[in-house]
């Protein structure tokens, strides 16, 4: 009961929501609109996409965009529009799950490290610095290679890789946010009460670091499609015929001159998702940072 209350149960009325929307920064509003579009496509896309994601020769190969095939068709006569629509949920689900794992693991490590200090902190932080010093794409490729060929192309592996690559960076942020809270008296009171480190992290540190961590989560979710797309492009992501956007760009890249639309459309979708996520994050950071209370 106590944890629930400490995390806060906030109820909104319609007027609150309207006022919040009006006062929100423009970037937040644009970002929300773009994300809403992407999520809508991701959820409903499979219902209304004209063709299946791997239906071969539904039209002539390499057809130009037209009424029957808005984004044209590829070498195998697959409808690119349908493939892009089918791919929408893949990118979002993989990105969100991967980031979620990274944030949960990173936050736990970072906050514990901030509270315990001492040898635990030193050890964990040196390890994290080592991981961060490796460029994240190289780290991701190493992780995929380490998993072995039998798991290659497995979406679960992709999610774990994203989480693994993100968690050290999140841990550093969480530790910094935690250190800011640890020195405050209410944490000392909790320690004097004999609370376990886990209890202090969950009850005292986490609720006070949510602002930073939420922004961190949103920011990382924006990077995740890039990572997944890049891995797909390099052939370390999902396997064909998956309509994952990065993979599609990779598959079609030699058609760039012959039929630019087949490459351009998945690229545009990926770009708009990333830009939308980034604008939404930036707006969210400003809302959380400006600390104006929306009082009655």
């Amino acid at each position: 009961m106590t944890t629930r209350a400490s995390l806060g149960v906030v109820s909104f009325s319609r007027a609150d929501v309207v006022r919040f929307w009006r006062q929100a920064p423009a970037s937040f509003r644009i970002g929300t609109a773009v994300l809403a579009f992407h999520i809508a496509v991701a959820i409903t896309g499979p219902l209304w996409a004209p063709y299946g994601q791997a239906d071969l020769f539904v039209g002539p190969a390499l057809a130009a965009p037209g009424w029957s095939h808005p984004f044209g068709t590829d070498v195998l006569g697959r409808d690119v529009f349908s493939r892009v629509v089918h791919g929408a949920h893949l990118v979002i689900v993989l990105s969100v799950l991967g980031t979620l794992i990274g944030v949960v693991v990173g936050t736990t490590i970072g906050l514990l490290s901030a509270y315990l200090r001492g040898w635990f902190d030193t050890l964990v932080m040196r390890l994290i610095e080592t991981l961060i010093s490796i460029p994240y794409l190289v780290l991701a490729l190493l992780a995929v290679a380490a998993a072995g060929p039998e798991y290659a192309g497995d979406p679960v592996l992709l999610v774990l890789v994203v989480g693994f690559v993100f968690s050290p960076r999140v841990a550093r942020m969480a530790r910094a946010a935690g250190l800011d809270v640890v020195t405050r008296d209410f944490v000392t009171i909790a320690r004097l009460r004999g609370e376990s480190p886990w209890s202090v992290v969950v009850r005292e540190l986490l609720p006070n670091a949510t602002g930073t961590l939420l922004v961190e989560f949103a920011l990382r979710t924006g990077y995740a499609p890039v990572l997944i797309g890049t891995l797909g492009f390099l052939g370390f992501g999902l396997r064909p015929p998956s309509p994952e956007w990065g993979l599609m760009i990779s598959e079609y890249r030699n058609l760039l001159l012959a039929s630019p639309f087949v490459v351009l459309m998945p690229g545009l979708m990926l770009a708009s998702l990333i830009i939308g996520l980034n604008m939404w994050t930036e707006g969210l950071a400003r809302i959380l940072g400006r600390s104006v209370r929306y009082d009655e």
Binding site: M1, A5, D185, I189, G194, P207
Partner: protein, 676 residues
């Protein structure tokens, strides 16, 4: 330039608003104030009354979100509010200068202090050449009694103590010989002894240069010491102005009376006089008429509707209260008799410290190799605290008071010596203590803003100690919380609030409730009143007094405020740089014989009970001598030559039972304290 007879600065009916969500919030309401050449005007009021806004106007400063709708701020014949930035820049720093509250943040940490002063001189073109500037810098540094000006000028701010830093900002303000100094709480962050030295310096400088001062403070004791005239503000209104003697002897406005009554006074055995202020200043709930109406004991229904104008009722005495004739100005006649606690016999010892020395930080293998050791913060302290008593630890900042509390609470294991609690050895760290021991010792911190989790409702902050320490059925927790809130006089429905929905005083009450809910035997109160406003302080102090009467809880009360200690404590221990100087019954500590340090502390307390202070009391040395046997050597006015440097002072007991650690016999100390 104004004629010599007119006021140097004058505010005329200033009305100022701040932008506030959708509208404007009135912060100054038709404020008028004159400052004559060479006069020191004290501006007092609780936080949020508009003091700082007003003092800013005298420098031509308005916050970007403020607007002045009426009135003028005249300085030497010109309206500062009409000047452009360039003209203002030529006046500010040269004709009128500000001395800010916090010297640590107002000095540039990356510039030598001499250069910072020279910058002011160069900007205003006061000195013709480089060498002349340097000469002037040394001159002003010398005028603020900083030893060795040429060396001090080359220091960086962090190489100076707080008091020295404040002297530098004073020197900077004086550099161009201004005719008006605006001082915004210049001594608030300083120790009582340092504060005393700064106040004396200001009085000397004023006698020497004859500049006018506006001294803004919430501390009436300080005002009594330095001001000629006092202006009392409440919620943006000037409610009373009068000469210092009149304000303190015959205050007419109920707010002034309440302010004076709210302060525990050291001179009268801690007995409180008059009716202390009730309630809080709430800007959003001001009535149309008198702003003080909701908190006033003398109010009539008509007060809430009729705006009060300043009325002249005597020689230079103005009051904004329509009922001033009915209000008895003799504050002392409404004296509340001090509450006498039934004398308890020799009670059992709850906690004892046996030769405890404390250090921060552990020695790592490298430190051992290099022979580095953390400095000892508390040296060989032995104390006993009896069950049910209020034991006060006093001393200036850095004296090790909080370190001792940390050791008792288990945050810091003793380096040497041991603690005993109810005759059992107290394990050094919290981790080694049983849950029951943790329950029996509870800690309350100074800053109520930091002691409550901002993301937890009051209810969950209070529920945690119940579930952790007491075996109470979950259905009963709510009732326990309600009782605990009732004990600290917080309405039950506040349980669902977050800390940011509470005022500072309410937060401190909740922190107190959280400690009490565990039914502790020992309550560690670390400067619990220091960050609160005068009237809030009075109400919390009242609560602690009630607690002392009604429950058997033992308190270790840590404070630098001797007046508060005198009104609350049973026994007092005085600490100086980690050394215990004097221990004994409250009444014995506050009466001769004194340890030399206790004496200097008591001398430094600004109090309107002892207004006629000699300005030229002997200046005490800034820092004690390192390596001497007695820690107080170097600052001690009664030092016995080399004996104090070479031999550690022994503990001596006076006839009444007061223990003093000094080479002087108690009867000699008594003689010295009486000025014989």
């Amino acid at each position: 330039m104004s004629s010599s007879s007119g006021p140097v600065a004058r505010l005329e009916g200033v009305r100022l608003d701040y932008r506030h969500r959708d509208g404007w919030l009135r912060v100054l309401q038709d404020v008028s104030l004159d400052i004559s050449p060479g006069e020191v005007v004290g501006l007092v009021g609780e936080s949020g009354c508009g003091k700082s806004t007003l003092s800013g106007l005298l420098l031509g400063y308005r916050h970007p979100s403020a607007r002045v709708t009426n009135g003028r701020a005249m300085f030497e014949g010109t309206d500062l509010l009409k000047l452009d930035r360039e003209t203002l820049d030529r006046i500010r720093g040269r004709r009128v200068a500000l001395i800010p509250q916090n010297p640590t943040t107002s000095l540039n940490p990356s510039m030598r202090v001499g250069d910072q002063i020279a910058e002011v001189l160069r900007f205003h073109g006061v000195t013709p050449s480089g060498p002349a500037t340097t000469k002037r810098v040394h001159e002003v540094l010398e005028s603020v009694s900083l030893a060795d000006p040429s060396r001090t000028a080359r220091r960086f701010p962090h190489q100076l103590s707080g008091g020295q830093q404040q002297r530098v900002t004073i020197a900077m303000a004086l550099a161009c010989n201004p005719s008006l100094l605006v001082l915004d709480e210049p001594t608030t962050g300083l120790d009582v002894t340092t504060q005393d030295q700064i106040l004396r310096l200001l009085a000397n400088l004023r006698a020497l240069h004859g500049m006018a001062m506006l001294y803004v403070t919430h501390d009436l004791g300080v005002v009594a010491q330095i001001a000629d005239r006092v202006c009392v503000m409440y919620a943006g209104h000037v409610v009373e102005t009068a000469s210092k003697t009149v304000v303190f002897d015959r205050p007419r406005h109920p707010y002034t009376q309440g302010l004076i009554a709210s302060i525990p006074r050291i001179a009268e055995g801690g007995a409180r006089t008059g009716l202390p202020l009730k309630g809080l200043l709430r800007r959003s709930e001001l009535p149309r008429g008198c702003p003080f109406f909701p908190r006033c004991d003398f109010s009539r229904p008509s007060c809430g509707d009729t705006p009060q104008r300043l009325e002249t009722i005597g020689d230079e005495h103005q009051v904004a209260c329509q009922r001033w004739k009915d209000i008895n100005p003799d504050v002392d006649s409404t004296r509340v008799p001090p509450q006498v606690r039934p004398e308890s016999g020799p009670n059992e010892t709850l906690l004892s410290l046996e030769h405890v020395s404390l250090r921060y930080g552990r020695r790592g293998p490298f430190d051992k190799l290099l022979g580095v050791s953390a400095p000892t913060v508390v040296h060989d302290v032995s104390l006993t605290i009896g069950r049910g008593e209020v034991f006060a630890l006093v001393g200036e900042s850095g004296s090790g008071k909080s370190t001792i509390a940390n050791a008792i609470s288990g945050l810091l294991a003793p380096f040497t010596g041991q603690l005993r609690f109810c005759d059992d050895v107290l394990p050094g760290t919290v981790e080694e203590r049983s849950a029951n021991l943790k329950r029996r010792i509870q800690y309350i911190f100074q800053n109520p803003d930091a002691s409550l989790n901002p993301r937890a409702r009051v209810r969950s902050s209070l529920a945690r100690p119940i579930t952790k320490f007491l075996s109470v059925a979950s259905s009963e927790v709510g009732a326990r919380i309600a009782t605990a809130l009732g004990e600290v006089r917080i309405p039950e429905n506040y349980a669902v609030r977050y800390p940011d929905q509470l005022s500072g005083g309410e937060r401190q009450r909740v922190a107190l409730a959280r400690a009490l809910i565990a039914r502790p035997d020992l309550l560690l109160c670390d400067e619990v009143l220091s960050s609160l406003d005068v009237s809030v302080q009075a109400s919390i102090l009242g609560l602690l007094e009630a607690l002392k009467h009604d429950t058997a809880v033992t308190m270790l009360f840590i404070s630098h405020d001797l007046a508060v200690v005198r009104s609350l404590a049973d026994r007092v221990a005085v600490l100086f740089q980690g050394h215990l100087c004097e221990v004994g019954d409250k009444n014995l500590v506050f009466a001769p014989p004194f340890h030399p340090y206790t004496h200097s502390l008591l001398q430094a307390v600004p109090d309107f009970g002892k207004r006629a202070r000699s300005i030229d009391a002997p200046e005490v040395g800034a820092s004690p001598q390192a390596g001497a046997a007695c820690a107080f050597v170097g600052r001690c006015p009664w030092q016995l030559g080399n004996r104090c440097v070479e031999e550690p002072p022994p503990w001596r007991t006076s006839r009444a039972g007061l223990r003093i650690r000094c080479h002087h016999e108690p009867k000699d100390l008594e003689r010295l304290a009486n000025g014989e």
